[in-house]
């Protein structure tokens, strides 16, 4: 299903991506992206309320949920086409699953089948030094790091995706040149250092942050993911 892009949405996405990337233009290598993502199984993992359902819906329908509900029982998401400019990727059928620790066994099943793993976490809470969120993120990555170790040669591509930047007052209203500083500040957090290390180190793990408050913001975040995927 094609993304419901309209001209304003498209340029808005580009503008937002450009702002977040602190660059004048966004030049993505669509061929490389296609090779990396085509026909691959994607696992979207993360604690409760980080935006897993939102991102999966965007990647499978091009829209964001009109109403939000907690994901308790898993939801089957049908296979679909994700179209974005020159990119046209078949997204395989997947599952949207709960973020509670009780779902770890289900996370592992998704992880073991996946070629690409998105681990979502809340930037605003980590920047604010929320101990509960830090503890949870560490626990999640202990598991994910262990599963990646088990797969060794066949390890999935791991993306750590920070969401909810818009909920941090320090982020809102930042100018282009200051967004890069904010991103650096996030990457320097001890917990981020630790989980990147558990995921296999900075060369293996891609870190992306942004907001998914609107469709435009979500597009910008996805642009960043693609940008990181090809660097």
């Amino acid at each position: 299903m094609p993304l419901p892009f309209i001209a304003i949405g498209w340029y808005g996405a580009l503008a937002a991506a450009a702002a977040i990337l602190a660059a004048g233009t966004v030049a993505l290598n669509w061929d490389k992206i296609l090779i990396l993502f085509k026909g691959k199984h994607l696992a979207i993992l993360g604690a409760r309320g980080v935006g897993k359902t939102h991102l999966r819906k965007f990647l499978t329908t091009g829209s964001i949920p009109a109403e939000y509900k907690q994901t308790v029982a898993p939801e089957k998401t049908p296979k679909n086409r994700f179209q974005l400019k020159e990119l046209d990727i078949k997204i395989k059928e997947g599952f949207d699953i709960s973020g509670d620790k009780a779902a770890y066994a289900e996370w592992k099943k998704l992880h073991d089948k996946a070629h690409i793993v998105f681990y979502l976490l809340r930037v605003d809470r980590l920047i604010a030094g929320d101990n509960d969120v830090e503890t949870r993120v560490r626990a999640d990555m202990r598991h994910i790091g262990g599963w990646i170790e088990e797969k060794k040669q066949d390890r999935p591509e791991l993306f750590i995706i920070g969401t909810h930047c818009d909920c941090d007052p320090a982020f809102v209203g930042l100018t282009k040149d200051k967004i890069a500083d904010y991103t650096d500040k996030f990457r320097r957090l001890p917990v981020i250092h630790e989980i990147v290390s558990r995921g296999g180190g900075a060369l293996q793990v891609k870190v992306v942050i942004g907001s998914m408050k609107t469709v435009v913001n979500t597009e910008a975040l996805v642009f960043q993911i693609f940008n990181q995927a090809t660097t």
Partner: protein, 171 residues
């Protein structure tokens, strides 16, 4: 009443452990094995089953022997999201007739104990959902009976034909 089912609800603060009860017993956050088993039972139905009913937030999914029904609670979580309650159970020909009553009563008991509530219209939809499951189950049984009957008839005709063939060759 809740001893027949697994109930699962996410905490409204999104940080406390999810509330999971298995056959009437609340499973604590430190009992990760039993909690993960309960979640796997629920997940299995989603993977192997089909969506039978989906109206105004009440969703029933079932495979040949198990079902899960998701019902929105009146309360929303800290982020303003709908907070559904999930009920897992097994069914067979005998209990399907009264299943919606069992589930509705058990749901009411679970929400009362967990300090939540469900709108009466959603309870009504629970009954409708199980009526749909009953209809689908009857259709499946009729289809299964038809296939078995056709197979038995085919085999009988074949055997009859073979006997006729053999007897015609015996002088």
């Amino acid at each position: 009443m809740t001893e027949k089912f697994i109930f699962w609800a996410q905490a409204l603060d999104n940080s406390s452990p999810d509330l999971i009860t298995v056959r009437g017993e609340a499973i604590g956050a430190d009992d990760s094995l039993r909690r993960q088993k309960a979640v796997s039972d629920v997940s299995h139905v989603v993977k192997s089953g089909n969506r039978i009913f989906d109206t105004r937030g009440v969703q029933l999914t079932a495979d040949a022997q198990n079902f899960i029904i998701e019902v929105p609670s009146v309360q929303q979580d800290r982020d303003g999201r709908t907070a559904p309650i999930v009920c897992y159970g097994q069914y067979d020909r005998e209990i399907i007739a009264n299943l919606s009553d069992y589930v509705a009563d058990s749901l009411c008991e679970f929400v009362r104990e967990s300090g939540r509530s469900i709108k009466p219209e959603h309870i009504e939809l629970v009954h409708q959902a199980f009526s749909e499951l009953k209809k689908k189950n009857q259709k499946r049984r009729i289809a299964f009976g038809t296939v078995i009957g056709a197979a038995a008839l085919t085999i009988a005709i074949l055997i009859y034909g073979i006997i006729r063939l053999i007897s015609s060759r015996i002088p």
